[in-house]
């Protein structure tokens, strides 16, 4: 694990290009940085301040977005939610650098979680930052019968505190004045000596404190050794905050609340499994029925095949004659402009958006962390912790986007396992529709054979990788946010950013993949490959030779593979064998490319070869058992 960490550190630091960093841009304008724990309503405040004029960019070397806007004469930055300033993961490293570069900090705290949130506030104060506190969820405070003596708290901290209700915009009129009142708070005594000597060496109080707290990155930047007093400083700060909270908060809230009860039901298997089934069913109605059938039918068939493809084909053919191989490369059956655009924009995009909407709703309601908790023990058999439920669910939408999402997992080991599971055993939505239709026609027994085989392979691959991969997976440690009704604005924004990221990172690979296949078709390589696997198809899998075409087409688009089986006359069990093989084998070419990029050439290649071997091996074994 240590090795992984340092590898990761190097990767991150290697990709930090100081000249590109936002810290160095626009030196003239003062920087106003919004800081807070996760789910405290930072984004709502950010939107209020910056309006629509927002720049989103990735922090170099990470997937973490930097969201920048402007307010009056300030540059405003939103930061990822963090529980403290340190360097435990990418989010924290990005937040840390934004905080270090800040002129003024707008610290947003959740009034119902002051014990947790004020730790960060006190740390910002100890760093010597100028700040002002916005205390959100004042409506919940009232509803839960909590009393907070804000005046007294403000005296303890030495900074101003403004109550707000972000969802209603209450108190927002005070923010302008609040920013002007930002100042340094009351720092913890007792560590002045060591802080002072470190300050002399590094020249910034904030960085000096982080070094004393053992921050390896900052220490490295200044060429000094990280301090070893983190525990001491943290416990001291924690005790201080506990003392303050005891002095200023009286919590008379009734013990049982409905939302809390629902939250607990979601965690316990006995109630949690029916809740999961319900959530999945609703998601299925939305994604599988509404978007995949009604919306995609319209976008893919009407817009894509009906208007876009004939239109662009006509234009291109007017310039490049249809006899030219350029023409077929661009607008042929697998043309980059025709097929890939239709696939990407009119089939995948609506599905990916729908999946992200469902995911954001589950996340913002507080359900997703509870689901992760419930499945944690089960996933640990596969060497994953509960958080891996997110990429695994997303895989049923689009394996390519899910492969990108594996980044949120804690260790390289978990990323490898999750990626392998996605590439091997999770059929994406494009494929699922065809699989479901074919299996429904085949009957109950074939359906059962299919489900058991795929599920068995999933468990087997996870278990084997867990056993043989070096290192340890990170344990689950998750702060469960309260159950809340999701805010539409928040869901919309998250969906937008995630979809944007997916399109930015994956769309290019769909074109590259289509180009590769187009060339393979023109050069005859595609036909050659199809012929090459015919013996395997007929003898080993006991399928008609034409099925090999379907397999190869599966490389182009996963659903093409399955759809190619429609026209063959297959017995129900033959359908099952073909579907098992196609599900296990080769993910679409875009997900292959993204996997290579995410996991490196070597690992990506091994997984890819693995899918070929496993797909044909398992397909053949099942074939010899059932046929």
């Amino acid at each position: 694990m240590e090795e992984n960490k340092s590898e990761h550190i190097n990767h991150f630091e290697k990709h930090r290009h100081p000249e590109l960093s936002f810290l160095e841009k626009d030196i003239g304008k003062p920087k106003l940085v919004l800081v807070g724990n996760p789910n405290v309503g930072k984004s709502l405040v950010f939107n209020e301040l910056s309006g629509m004029n927002v720049e989103v960019s990735n922090y170099p070397g990470t997937t973490v977005e930097i969201i920048k806007g402007s307010y009056k004469n300030y540059d405003v930055y939103d930061t990822p939610g963090v529980y403290g300033v340190s360097s435990f993961n990418d989010e924290e490293r990005v937040a840390r650098d934004e905080i270090l570069g800040a002129d003024i900090i707008l610290n947003i705290v959740d009034a119902t979680h002051l014990e947790r949130d004020l730790f960060l506030t006190q740390q910002l104060i100890d760093m010597g930052k100028k700040l002002v506190v916005l205390m959100n969820f004042m409506d919940d405070v009232k509803r839960h019968n909590i009393k907070i003596e804000i005046e007294k708290l403000s005296q303890f901290l030495g900074v101003d505190i403004f109550p707000i209700i972000a969802v209603k915009g209450e108190g927002f009129d005070k923010i302008a004045g609040a920013i002007e009142r930002a100042r340094e708070g009351i720092q913890r005594e007792g560590m002045h000596g060591s802080l002072h000597s470190m300050l002399k060496m590094v020249g910034s109080q904030a960085e000096a404190l982080l070094i004393l707290e053992g921050d390896e990155f900052i220490a490295k930047r200044h060429g000094v050794h990280p301090g070893s007093s983190r525990d001491e400083i943290y416990i001291d700060r924690r005790n201080r905050i506990n003392y303050i909270v005891n002095q200023v908060v009286i919590d008379d809230s009734p013990k049982k609340r409905i939302s809390e009860m629902v939250g607990r039901w979601a965690i316990k298997p006995i109630t949690g499994i029916p809740i999961l089934a319900f959530a999945l069913y609703i998601s299925y109605l939305f994604v599988g029925k509404f978007v995949a059938q009604i919306v995609v039918n319209f976008t893919e068939i009407q817009i894509g095949k009906g208007h876009w493809e004939p239109w662009v084909r006509e234009i291109i053919t007017a310039i490049i004659p249809s006899s030219s191989w350029w023409n077929s490369l661009l607008v042929g059956d697998f043309g980059i402009i025709t097929m890939t655009t239709t696939y990407l924009l009119f089939l995948l995009l609506p599905l990916v958006i729908a999946f992200y909407v469902a995911l954001s709703l589950m996340e913002d309601s507080g359900y997703l962390p509870r689901l992760a908790t419930m499945v944690d023990r089960t996933l640990s058999v596969l060497g994953l912790n509960g958080r891996a439920v997110i990429p695994l669910i997303l895989g049923f939408g689009c394996v390519t986007s899910a492969t990108i999402t594996t980044r949120l997992l804690g260790t390289e080991r978990e990323k490898t396992i999750a990626t392998a599971l996605l590439q091997f055993a999770i059929p994406c939505s494009a494929q699922l529709a065809v699989i479901a239709a074919l299996l429904a026609g085949a009957g109950f027994l074939p359906m059962l054979v299919y489900a058991l085989t795929i599920f068995g392979v999933l468990i087997a691959i996870g278990t084997i990788l867990n056993k043989f991969l070096h290192g340890e997976s990170a344990p689950l440690l998750l702060d469960l946010p309260p159950m809340r009704i999701p805010r539409i604005q928040n869901v919309a924004r998250k969906t937008f950013y995630r979809t944007f990221q997916f399109m930015k990172e994956a769309s290019g690979w769909f074109f590259v993949g289509a180009l590769a296949v187009g060339i393979a078709q023109i050069t005859g390589l595609l036909v050659y490959l199809q012929k090459l696997i015919i013996p395997l198809t007929t003898h080993w899998l006991q399928l008609p030779p034409e099925a090999s075409t379907a397999f190869i087409m599966g490389v182009v688009r996963r659903d093409f593979g399955a759809a190619g089986l429609y026209h063959l006359s297959l017995s129900p069990m033959q359908i099952t064998i073909a579907l098992i093989t196609i599900t296990l084998f080769v993910p679409c070419i875009a997900s292959l490319m993204v996997m290579m990029k995410e996991r490196g050439l070597k690992e990506g290649f091994i997984i890819w070869i693995g899918t070929w071997v496993v797909a044909f091996f398992i397909g053949g074994v099942v074939s010899h058992i059932v046929i």
């Binding site: 529980y83 403290g84 340190s86 435990f88 119902t112 979680h113 014990e115 947790r116 730790f119 960060l120 983190r230 525990d231 943290y234 416990i235 924690r238 905050i241 506990n242 919590d251 809230s253 939250g263 607990r264 965690i267 316990k268 298997p269 962390p369 509870r370 992760a372 908790t373 419930m374 944690d376 023990r377 089960t378 640990s380 912790n385 509960g386 344990p475 689950l476 440690l477 998750l478 702060d479 469960l480 309260p482």
Partner: protein
């Protein structure tokens, strides 16, 4: 000082137990716990103990899910089992 013979690993407690934290693992995990308000001597409640040993603890309004591997490394003293 809080280490006593009565201390049990967190994953062996039951839903509803009131606990005092006796010892915790070191390193960054510890720092993450301290930030969330959990450290030696704190009183917490075992809100849910799931089959397999995943535990959700509660302190005030804060709920924290802890995987069974991590829960094994946290020693606690059961000081009450009010809500059964």
């Amino acid at each position: 000082m809080l280490k006593s013979k009565n201390a049990v690993p967190l994953h062996l407690t039951s839903t509803g137990d009131v606990l005092r934290i006796a010892s915790m693992p070191h390193g960054t995990l510890r720092a993450q716990f301290v930030r969330l308000g959990i450290h030696e001597g704190e009183k917490v409640k075992c809100l849910e103990r799931l089959p397999g040993g995943t535990v959700v603890i509660q302190k005030n309004r804060q709920q924290i899910a802890i995987g069974h591997q991590l829960a094994k490394q946290i020693m606690v003293i059961v000081i009450g089992d009010k809500e059964k």
